[in-house]
C-alpha cells in the first residue's frame, strides 16, 4: 500500500463520519434526559456525546407506552411474512425451474408480469378486499399481501436453475419422488438463496410503512415502524424527545444487528430486490 492509499482512506473517513452523524445523534439524544433536551439539544459537542447521560428513556419505554408491544407485533409480522414467503417461493421456484409440465412457459410469464405491479398500485383494492373479509387489524392482514409478490419466486427459480441436474437424476434413478427430491435434496442445497430471500423479506416487513398504515388502524396492531410514525409528529409535547429517539433506536436495532452480522447476505438481498421492496 502506498501513501496515496492512506490519503484516500483518510479523505474518505470525513464523509463517512458525516454520513454517520445523523444516526449517532439519534443514539446520543436517546441517552440524554428529557428536561435537558427541552432546553437544548447541543449540550456536549453539538449533542453528539451523551453528557449528561441517562438510560431513563429506555427504562421508560418498557414501563409506559406501547413501544414494546409494537416491537413484538413487528417481530410476529416479520417472522410470519418471512416464513410464508419462503414457503411459497421455494416450492414455486423449484417447479418453474426444474419440472416439465404443460403451461410452464405461460405461468412463468404471468409471474414475471407481476414484478411490474408496485404496492402502491394495488393497496386501495387490497384495502377494500380485506375490509370485505373483515380482516383489517390482524396479523394475517399485514402478512398475506407480501406473499403474492413474485420476486422471491424469481430469486429461487434462478438459484435452482444453477444446480447441476445430475443430483436430481441420481435420486430419480433410486426411485425418489419429485416432492421428496425437492424436500430432501434441493432445499438443503438452497440454503444460501433462502437466506438471501429471508433477509430481503424480513427487512421489507420490518420497514414497510404504507400497507400497515392503511390496514392497521388500531394501535394494538401497529408495527414499530408505524408506531414510530404515530409518535414522531408531536414528539416535543407528548413523550419527550429523548424517549422518541429511544423508540427510534429500538426500532432500528434488529435490522442494524441483522445487517452487521449478515452483511454479505443483506447486500445481496437488497441488490436482488433492487429497491426497498
Amino acid at each position: 500500500m502506498n501513501r496515496s492509499y492512506y490519503w484516500l482512506v483518510l479523505g474518505l473517513s470525513i464523509p463517512a463520519f458525516l454520513w454517520l452523524v445523523p444516526t449517532l445523534w439519534m443514539v446520543s439524544l436517546s441517552f440524554q434526559p428529557n428536561e435537558v433536551l427541552a432546553r437544548t439539544t447541543s449540550s456536549t459537542l453539538f449533542g453528539l456525546i451523551p453528557i449528561p447521560f441517562t438510560a431513563e428513556n429506555y427504562a421508560a419505554l418498557f414501563t409506559f407506552g406501547q413501544t414494546p408491544w409494537w416491537f413484538l407485533n413487528s417481530l410476529i409480522v416479520s417472522v410470519g411474512m418471512t416464513l410464508g414467503v419462503l414457503a411459497v417461493s421455494t416450492t414455486a421456484g423449484y417447479a418453474l425451474a426444474r419440472l416439465n409440465f404443460r403451461g410452464k412457459v405461460p405461468i412463468t410469464i404471468i409471474c414475471l408480469v407481476g414484478l411490474m405491479v408496485p404496492e402502491q398500485a394495488v393497496f386501495i383494492p387490497l384495502y377494500t378486499m380485506f375490509a370485505d373479509f373483515g380482516w383489517h387489524n390482524s396479523y394475517h392482514a399485514l402478512i398475506l399481501p407480501r406473499m403474492a409478490v413474485p420476486i422471491g419466486v424469481f430469486l429461487m427459480m434462478q438459484f435452482f436453475r444453477g444446480i447441476p441436474r445430475d443430483i436430481e437424476e441420481a435420486a430419480r434413478l433410486d426411485g425418489v419422488g419429485w416432492l421428496r427430491i425437492f424436500w430432501y435434496v434441493m432445499l438443503p442445497l438452497a440454503r444460501p438463496a433462502m437466506m438471501t430471500l429471508a433477509i430481503l423479506t424480513f427487512l421489507y416487513a420490518w420497514n414497510d410503512y404504507l400497507w400497515p398504515l392503511v390496514s392497521a388502524q388500531q394501535r394494538e396492531y401497529f408495527t414499530i415502524t408505524l408506531g414510530l410514525a404515530s409518535i414522531q409528529s408531536n414528539f416535543a409535547q407528548s413523550e419527550g424527545l429523548g424517549r422518541v429517539m429511544a423508540s427510534g433506536v429500538i426500532a432500528s436495532l434488529p435490522v442494524v444487528i441483522l445487517f452487521l452480522i449478515f452483511q454479505r447476505y443483506v447486500v445481496q438481498a437488497m441488490t436482488a430486490g433492487g429497491s426497498k421492496g
Partner: protein, 364 residues
C-alpha cells in the same frame, strides 16, 4: 425430460409441479392479480369509502369520468409555447437524439428513449386551461410535477455521489470494507426512523444543522416550513437514506472491469480522474443506466418522507403522487378518484419497469 425406468412415485411430474405451484399461484392470484384488476374496476366507479362500507350498492358506474376529473379540465387548450422552457428543452432533446443517432453515437434503444421522452416534454406541458377554463383537479398536475422534481433531484444526487464513492472504495482492504459498511448502514433503516432523524436534524430550534449554523453566527433556516427549502430537505434525507444500494450496484459493476484496461490506460498517462472519465465511465454505462432506472422506479413511489417530514407542505410544494393518492382515498374517502390516480402511477412505473427489464437483459 428423459425418464429412466418406470415412474418412481405415484405422482407424475406434472402433478408434482402443480402441487408445488399451488400455494404461490393461490396467493398471487388472490392478492396481486385480482386486486390489480379490481383497482381498474374501482377507478371506473364513483366509490365513496365510507358509503360503500355501509352499503355495498352505494357505488355508481361512471366510466372514465374519474380520469377526466383527475387529469382534465374545462376549456383545456394546447399551445405550442405554453411552457416555452420545457418545450424548447424537448425540441433540443429531440434534435440531439436524431443527431446522435444519425452519427451512430447513440444506440437505437437510447435514441428511441430520448426521442419519446423529448416528444412528451414538448406535448405535455403545452396543455393549459383556456379562457374561463380550469383544471377539474387543481392539485393533480402540480403534484405530479413535484414528484418529477423530487425524482429529478434525488436520482442524479444519489447516482453521482454513489458512483464517486464506489470508484473511491473499489479496493478489497479492511479499511475500505469498513467505510462501505458505514455508507451502507443508513440504507437498512425504515422510512420512519429516517424521517424521525431528519425532522429533528432540520429543526430550526433543536436541529443539529441549526445548532452548527448558529455557532458560526448564521441564522438557522426553517428547512421544513420554507417553500424554498422543503423539497431540498426531503431530497437530502432521501439521498442519505438510499445511497447504499446504488453504491453496491456500482461496486459490482466496477468489479467486472478488467485491471488490464487500467494498466493500458496508465501507459497512456490516464490516471486518477482521467482514468475515471475515460475508462471507468464508458465501461460502466450499462450499470449506470440500470441504477438510474431502478432509482426512478424507487423514488417515484416516494411517500413517507413527504408524509412525515413536511406533510406535503408548505403550500403543497412537497405534495407527491402517492401521498395524494393516499389522501384522496383515505382522508377524502374518494376511492374511485384515488384508484384512477393509482392507475396513472402504475402506467408510469410499468413503463420504467419494462425499460429496466430491457436494460437488464441487454448484454454489452
Amino acid at each position: 425430460m428423459q425418464n429412466p425406468r418406470k415412474p418412481a412415485s405415484r405422482l407424475s411430474q406434472t402433478q408434482a409441479a402443480w402441487i408445488l405451484l399451488a400455494p404461490f399461484l393461490f396467493t398471487y392470484g388472490l392478492f396481486l392479480i385480482y386486486p390489480f384488476f379490481r383497482g381498474f374496476w374501482i377507478s371506473l366507479h364513483d366509490w365513496n369509502l365510507l358509503a360503500v362500507a355501509f352499503n355495498p350498492d352505494a357505488k355508481q358506474f361512471v366510466g372514465l369520468r374519474n380520469y377526466e376529473r383527475v387529469m382534465w379540465g374545462r376549456n383545456i387548450e394546447w399551445g405550442p409555447l405554453a411552457a416555452p422552457f420545457w418545450q424548447l428543452l424537448g425540441i433540443a432533446g429531440l434534435a440531439v437524439s436524431v443527431l446522435l443517432r444519425g452519427t451512430k453515437r447513440l444506440s437505437r434503444f437510447n435514441a428511441i428513449a430520448l426521442g419519446v421522452a423529448s416528444v412528451l416534454v414538448i406535448i405535455l406541458p403545452g396543455f393549459h386551461p383556456g379562457e374561463e377554463g380550469r383544471w377539474y383537479d387543481r392539485r393533480f398536475w402540480p403534484t405530479v410535477a413535484n414528484t418529477i422534481v423530487f425524482v429529478g433531484l434525488a436520482v442524479p444526487g444519489v447516482t453521482i455521489s454513489a458512483l464517486l464513492l464506489a470508484a473511491a472504495l473499489n479496493r478489497e482492504t479492511r479499511a475500505m470494507g469498513a467505510l462501505r459498511t458505514l455508507f451502507f448502514l443508513s440504507q437498512v433503516l425504515s422510512v420512519t426512523v429516517v424521517t424521525l432523524i431528519w425532522q429533528i436534524m432540520f429543526s430550526p430550534r433543536q436541529g443539529l444543522i441549526a445548532n452548527i449554523t448558529e455557532t458560526f453566527g448564521g441564522t438557522p433556516i426553517n428547512w421544513l416550513t420554507d417553500e424554498q427549502f422543503a423539497m431540498a430537505a426531503i431530497v437530502i434525507a432521501t439521498i442519505w437514506w438510499s445511497l447504499g444500494i446504488a453504491m453496491i450496484l456500482f461496486l459490482a459493476g466496477l468489479q467486472d472491469i478488467s485491471k488490464d484496461i487500467y494498466e493500458a490506460a496508465a501507459l497512456d498517462n490516464a490516471k486518477g480522474a482521467r482514468a475515471f472519465w475515460y475508462v471507468t465511465l464508458p465501461n460502466l454505462k450499462r450499470t449506470v443506466t440500470l441504477v438510474v432506472v431502478l432509482q426512478i422506479i424507487l423514488h417515484f413511489q416516494v411517500f413517507g418522507q413527504s408524509h412525515l417530514m413536511t406533510q406535503g407542505g408548505p403550500n403543497d410544494t412537497t405534495q407527491v403522487l402517492v401521498r395524494y393518492i393516499y389522501q384522496t382515498g383515505f382522508r377524502d374517502s374518494e376511492l374511485g378518484r384515488a384508484s384512477a390516480m393509482a392507475v396513472f402511477l402504475f402506467v408510469i412505473m410499468g413503463t420504467f419497469s419494462v425499460i429496466q427489464f430491457i436494460v437488464g437483459r441487454e448484454k454489452t
